[in-house]
């Protein structure tokens, strides 16, 4: 809220995390103390990985609720506004991890307004911890400011830390944290004076990110299975496995656009990464611009001497020329395959290619789909491809799809002083493979609608999550089998999971939000389907789109296939205003200017209420 005559009375951020699934409700209440009507802005930043599920505005006792609709249907409905040149959307890209939801509304003199935004996300385990991130920027002092988070983890919590980028020494004692075996409660509620930057000024200290990091016990090797009301979720992150030796080929873009800071940062990043290779690892370098060159024609053992030579080689990589991704990746594949065929690398080892590029292919094969097909056919499931897209000139979707088609993942490296840290961070996540070919099996006659159940690898510090529906809602038992390959042997975990009694686990807890396992399953299924839409065959794409849309609508998730339509109250100046909130794709984020403001759409519908679907 940027107008001084608007008093921000209440900001409450309430997070409920149950078995890694986070449900966050942000509520903000403002009072217009002026004698004239004024515009109030509600800007919230939420994680890109979250799906908005609800938004409402309450003005003078009237509630205006956002309705999730099929994107095309919503667009068609409001195409008049779109065609008049006004951009659609309440959601804007905002930095690396967040996207911004913005809405503004005119409220009458001496009236108040309450905004409520709800979103859900599955927290991912990275480098041994889950992270819940809350961005708070109230822009002015708030009468009642509160962050409350409750974490419920049936496996038990091993540690939990709460900290914020804006937490000064004075504010630190206000971060209250209670952790018991399976439950944690975090709160932060500074008074008006405690929020002040200085005793006599109105500036607020509350401006930044609030983090909650935690991890859970992992006593059972086969993981933890939770069965709730016809749905199950299997969390798998066994501890204490030795790392698999890895065979890694770094495919580095040295085209002209990489020159300068990017190439310098690449040098630094690669040198750091080389230091983390172990003697049992094998590695190689392929560099490319219009042509392709290899440091050495075959993989090299990561001895101290070889690493030292490699560091010297890295320093010599200079940028110029075009971008031939196709031939470079195929060359790397051949290097790895040769090594596997000649058995110069250990049998139980993880083979991977790490591609770093900052641009689109423009030399050799430049058709993106052909490159994806060539790479997929060449790799044939025998190794994993990770792609790093450096900066914003790269087609991230191209890299993302290509990585996913080959059991890997992509990450954008943002241009900035910390690019080296980003490179290293990504490498740390994927470099330590504990298990390969991890497959989850459940009796076919007991489960359906299973999310992805085959994984090329399990990284140290990460977690695999599989969810599904039980054929019988009443089922309280589920047999399972997990197979995987470790450095020493093939592993088979067989067991039988039993539904836990939540009343016993959390006896004092009146309310653990309703059907969280079902929502977790839906969230994960939609993510899987969205991946399939990107990388599947034309038939698979159609089916996956239909299924993802159906689930998005059923669970009220704003996904790339749906939009939330928000109708504003009528005013004399604005007979009716309607907004659309979308979920941005990575490519859309790329095209949205960072500092985009809110643009209104005007159409002729009245306010929205749901009242018939009581089922």
């Amino acid at each position: 809220v940027s107008v001084s005559e608007i008093e921000l009375q209440n900001v409450k951020i309430n997070c409920m995390v149950t078995s890694r699934f986070a449900h966050t409700v942000m509520t903000s209440m403002a009072l217009n103390k002026a004698n004239v009507s004024q515009e109030v802005f509600f800007d919230v930043e939420l994680p890109k990985t979250a799906f908005i599920t609800n938004f409402s505005m309450e003005i003078n006792g009237n509630t205006y609720v956002g309705v999730v609709k099929e994107k095309e249907k919503a667009k068609k409905q409001y195409e008049a506004a779109v065609s008049s040149g006004k951009t659609a959307g309440l959601v804007k890209a905002s930095g690396r991890k967040m996207e911004k939801f913005s809405v503004s509304v005119n409220i009458a003199a001496n009236s108040n307004i309450t905004f409520t935004l709800t979103f859900e996300e599955l927290l991912q385990r990275r480098l041994g911890k889950y992270e819940l991130m809350i961005r708070v920027k109230p822009k002015q002092l708030v009468q009642n400011f509160e962050i409350v988070a409750d974490v419920f983890e049936p496996q038990g919590i091993t540690f939990l830390n709460a900290h914020g980028t804006f937490i000064t020494n004075e504010l630190l004692p206000l971060v209250e944290k209670t952790v018991t075996d399976k439950r944690a409660h975090v709160s932060f509620s500074p008074t008006l004076d405690q929020q002040r930057k200085c005793p006599d000024c109105d500036g607020t200290l509350i401006d930044g990110d609030f983090f909650i990091n935690y991890d859970v016990n992992r006593e059972d090797m086969f993981g933890n299975i939770q069965i709730v009301n016809g749905y199950f979720v299997h969390f798998f992150a066994p501890a204490d496995f030795p790392k698999l030796p890895k065979n890694v080929v770094f495919v580095i873009d040295r085209s002209g656009s990489m020159s300068g800071t990017k190439m310098h940062q690449t040098h630094e990043g690669l040198k750091t990464i080389l230091n983390e290779l172990h003697e049992e690892d094998h590695f190689g370098f392929v560099t490319f611009s219009g042509d392709v060159k290899a440091w050495k024609p075959s993989l090299t053992t990561a001895t101290k001497e070889n690493l030292k030579n490699a560091e010297a080689f890295v320093e010599t990589i200079t940028a110029s020329g075009l971008t031939n991704i196709n031939d470079a990746v195929l060359f790397a594949v051949k290097m790895l395959k040769d090594a596997m065929n000649k058995k110069t690398v250990p049998e139980n080892s993880a083979s991977m290619i790490i591609l770093l590029t900052d641009g689109n292919p423009n030399e050799g094969e430049s058709n993106i789909q052909s490159i994806q097909n060539n790479v997929k056919n060449a790799i044939g499931g025998e190794m994993t491809l990770f792609c790093l897209g450096f900066g914003y000139d790269v087609s991230y979707t191209f890299l993302d799809v290509m990585a996913k088609q080959n059991n890997g993942l992509a990450r954008r490296i943002y241009e900035g002083s910390d690019a080296v840290v980003q490179l290293q961070g990504f490498y740390d996540e994927i470099a330590n493979v504990l298990l390969s070919d991890v497959n989850f099996q459940y009796p076919e006659n007991s489960v359906n609608s299973l999310t992805g159940s085959k994984f090329k690898q399990l990284f140290n510090g990460s977690e695999i999550v599989v969810a599904g529906r039980l054929n019988d809602n009443m089922m309280n038992d589920l047999p399972f089998e997990v197979t995987a390959q470790s450095v020493e042997k093939d592993l088979v975990f067989v067991g039988n999971a039993t539904a836990q009694d939540w009343k016993t686990i959390f006896p004092d807890q009146e309310y653990i939000f309703g059907d969280f396992t079902e929502h977790l399953w839906a969230y994960l299924t939609i993510q899987n389907l969205l991946d399939k839409i990107e990388k599947g065959s034309p038939e698979e794409k159609i089916k996956a789109t239909e299924d993802a849309l159906e689930l998005s609508l059923k669970y009220n998730f704003v996904t790339p296939l749906t939009s939330m339509v928000v109708t504003k109250p009528e005013t004399e100046e604005n007979p009716e205003d309607t907004f659309i909130a979308d979920k941005l794709t990575e490519d859309q984020r790329r095209h949205v200017p960072q500092a985009a403001g809110v643009t209104l759409q005007r159409t002729y519908t009245s306010s929205v209420t749901n009242w018939v679907d009581s089922d």
Partner: protein
Amino acid sequence: PHFIIEFADQNDALCFNINDKPGTIFNLIKDPLIGIIVNGQTIGDKKIDPENTMNTYFGSFGIVHAKFGIRLVVTTQDILVSEKGKQSKLFWSDNISIKGSNMDLHVAKDRSLTVTLRNSVKFVIVLHKVWKKHPYHQDFLGFYTLDSHLFSQRVHGLLGQFFHGITFEVSDMFKGKDPDKPDATMFVKGHNLTVTRGWQKDFRKDLKKGENVPCWFVHKNGTGLIDGEIEDYIVSGLF
């Protein structure tokens, strides 16, 4: 509970909700000439889901056929049958068919009970089983009349009053509060009501998902569509 009145010949349906406190017993069918009464008692959730308001469902039904001396009490636990003083108990976990001189019963394990009363009525009670450890919800029942043409002209009750049809006219469709659900004016029983196009679920074929039945939704506990008010249908006991 949701009420759906289907008009198969017109390919249309009316629907309304009846909300009252849990434990209330409603008369659904009363035919003094044939001697049939069907009453249903509502239940609530185990605990109110903080994100929703309290919903009510039917938890038990009492069915009487006075002339045949038949009484049935159907709950989410079991089915008590009493015929001319003789009593027996059936369980939802059974898969059983019983043919009697005046009544046939068929229990489809954990799904439904079909009751056929000779020369009068056939209906199905559907069991909605909810996960036992669910924090909020519990098992509940649905009641579907399959054949109602043999009821007398004096049949009444929340469902019974519609057994011999109803004349209604829907006109002046206009944009409702939800763009997907248009409103319209319905002229029925001498009242002009604002109704909304929506849908309810028929769970007879697909117990889990149900089938959507498009219908005209009458607001405020069916006011204007049902004769009188909901208080007129509240009775003191299942029989």
